[in-house]
């Protein structure tokens, strides 16, 4: 492209320093300094101490981190949480996308109706959902087991919340009920912005439904997809209230720690055992893990784009 030179403009006076952005952001800065930065440092520093009771603390350097790295419960929590994150991305998102695609082709009133229904689980608080589902998962009398029995003549006595192998699936099923509708709404909104003519063109060219989706529709909404995937992963790693309420008889742990997530373990270390130093160390590690996973995720999505 040939360089174009326009005639030199007369020198403009430098604009005065704008106070507006600082003023507008001042509430955030002040409040987060008080209620985020200060507590954060206080909690962060605590990771290098061992606490015993409310007032005693001893500096122990990296001992807390070393303990966690050798702690089987930490690895259990990590495995559980990662399994949940994977299930969220691989199960929840395709379901959300599928429902969004189905709904996208519905018209008018019916669409709003379905959308409301599918989104409605989000109107209930997580703690309510957890306790509600803990009753639904009850053996023999709970709704879920009775449904399986009616449909497949099997499963009446399955101990969803008592069998270590079924606890994480139970948590995943509950989270599906809550969040499929939520992400579906995001995807639906995004699909509305897709250029229909591109899809038509592809179909005329002979592409089948799947190919149209994969090569035309999906790339058009990739920004939303990436956003949703990142927030889903970050949210998954911070899963806390749902298992706590679902497994409230064992304070979120489940049999053989099968329902233990990173944050419920943190809650237990810090609050139930009172070892706030260990809890803070775990907090550091969770933050680092989330950060690392997000970076990897962003890299991958960039690679996929090209």
């Amino acid at each position: 492209m040939p360089l174009e030179r326009s005639p030199p403009k007369p020198a403009r006076p430098k604009p005065p320093v704008e106070w507006a952005p600082y003023l507008f952001l001042a509430p955030y800065i002040v409040l987060s300094a008080a209620f985020f930065v200060v507590p954060f440092f206080s909690a962060a520093v605590l990771a290098f101490y061992e606490t015993n009771g409310p007032r005693t603390r001893v500096f122990v350097g990296f001992a807390n981190f070393r303990f966690l790295l050798h702690d089987p419960m930490f690895y259990t929590a990590l495995a559980n949480t990662t399994a949940f994150a994977c299930a969220s991305v691989l199960l929840q998102l395709p379901l959300s996308m599928g429902l969004a695609l189905l709904l996208n082709t519905t018209e008018g009133r019916l669409k709003g109706f379905f959308r409301l229904i599918l989104f409605s689980p989000n109107l209930v608080g997580q703690i309510f959902v957890g306790i509600l589902f803990s009753v639904l998962f009850a053996p023999r009398y709970g709704l879920i087991n009775r449904t399986f029995q009616a449909l497949f003549h099997w499963g009446l006595e399955e101990r969803w919340l008592g069998n270590p192998r079924l606890v994480m699936p139970a948590i995943i099923v509950t989270s599906l009920w809550v969040w499929v509708g939520f992400n579906m709404v995001y995807f639906l909104a995004a699909l509305q912005g897709v250029d229909k003519t591109l899809e038509e063109a592809a179909r005329i060219d002979g592409a089948n439904v799947w190919q149209v989706f994969w090569h035309v529709t999906l790339p058009s909404i990739r920004h939303v997809v990436v956003f949703v995937v990142i927030t889903t992963i970050i949210g998954s790693y911070q899963l806390f209230e749902l298992p706590l309420a679902l497994l409230n008889s064992s304070s979120g742990r489940g049999p053989a720690n099968s329902g233990l997530t990173l944050i419920t373990y943190l809650n237990e270390l810090a609050f139930e055992s009172g070892d706030l130093g260990l809890g803070s160390a775990l907090g550091w590690m969770v933050a680092i893990i989330i950060f690392a996973v997000s970076i990897v995720q962003i890299r991958i999505s960039r690679v996929l784009e090209d």
Binding site: E50, R55, M73, G142, L161, S251, R253, A256, E272, S273
Partner: protein, 458 residues
Amino acid sequence: MLDRFPYGKAPLCLLVIAIVASALRVLAVSNRPKRADLVFVTLSAYHYEAYQKPIREFERSRGISVRLQFANATSLQSRLQNAMLAGTEIPDMAELVENSLSFFARGPRKDIGLLDLTDRLHESGLDKRLVSSRLSLWTSGGRTYAFPHDVHPVMLAYRRDLVEQLGIDVTQLDTWAKFVDAGRRVTRDVDGDGTIDRYMIDLSYDGSWSLDALLLQRGVQLFDDAGKVAFDNEVTVDVIRWLLRQSFGPEKIAYDPDASGSSGQSLMKAMTDGLVLFVWTPDWRSRVFQDDAPHLAGKMALMPLPAWEPGGRRTSVWGGTGLVIAKKTKHPDWAWDLANFLYYDPKEIGARFARTNIVPVLEDAWVLPELDVPNPYYSNQPIGRMYADLAPSTPPRRLTPLSFVAEQKLYEAYARSLEYYRRSGEDGLAGAIRGELARAQEYVNLRAERVAALAGAQ
């Protein structure tokens, strides 16, 4: 106006509601009573109900104002825990559940935020009058920090009508061996649909309360006198094996109606349907049954636990509430008086038993006539007398900062043993259980080392 609000319709509505609601709240709050002299938080609706009248009486006779609040156990726990961690104030008096004292009694003695009651208990002679096995639950490092509320002996409640129909004579079931035999005859699929619809007894499928109750009945503690982990022993192995057999073995007799879980009315339905004939019933639970399953009145009865060996202990213990006083309270003497009044006043105790079925922890209160009143729900048995007779043999429980952690690891060992049992049955089961217990013990020792190192470093 609606259109001109820059943020839109919804924010405007919310803003209006916010202003109206805040105004209403300011009005409501302005009628708030002034801060009471004593704030007392209880964690049971039954207690809340039971304390109303005595507290009014106390207020009247002493001219002190008392604020009674109700918070459920986990709420109160987390509130107190946060207050402890942040070093802020806790209510003047609060009720705690068993095991939670271990959290609050962490750390060097001077840091414990609870009033040390040992000396006062000794001076007033209360420590002799209370069931001795209960004091250990609320004692840490040789000092007692809470008033024991109860003894909570355990019996078995059973469907008398069904059991009689089946020809079982409960007076013969004085050992677990005999009980299991009777159970095997009775547990079966009655209507032929493939699922067993009559079980002998309820047990927890993931250990938890069943393991606790059975181990305590046999005198096993989580920690020994020196504070070292002690559950890795042959008795524990034996109990775990027994539990596995009765819950999952080929001749199982137990069902878990998920009663300690969150399944609403499952236990009630199980009892109503005769799905489970015998149910573990500490004294507080006998009342819960009366309230939640009134339609079973007259059909139920109670019997002491079968013993492990002939002439052995016929009860266990389940649950426990204690009352703690904040060290920083402005009125320790008033708090002491109120606690004494609520928990140990002779006029109060009889009425309390009538309302809650909870046997008094004061031994000299066992002569109260209320305990001998026949209870129509339980086939006119004098259940107060029956529980009181068992109270002296209630096993003690010891408390350490790591009791909570130790319990969790024990349950985990049980769950793992269950996996082994499912895969390989009885073959090498004892060895597998021993391995799991050793692993659990190792973890608890690691945590104990941290606490010890801390204590040593000060």
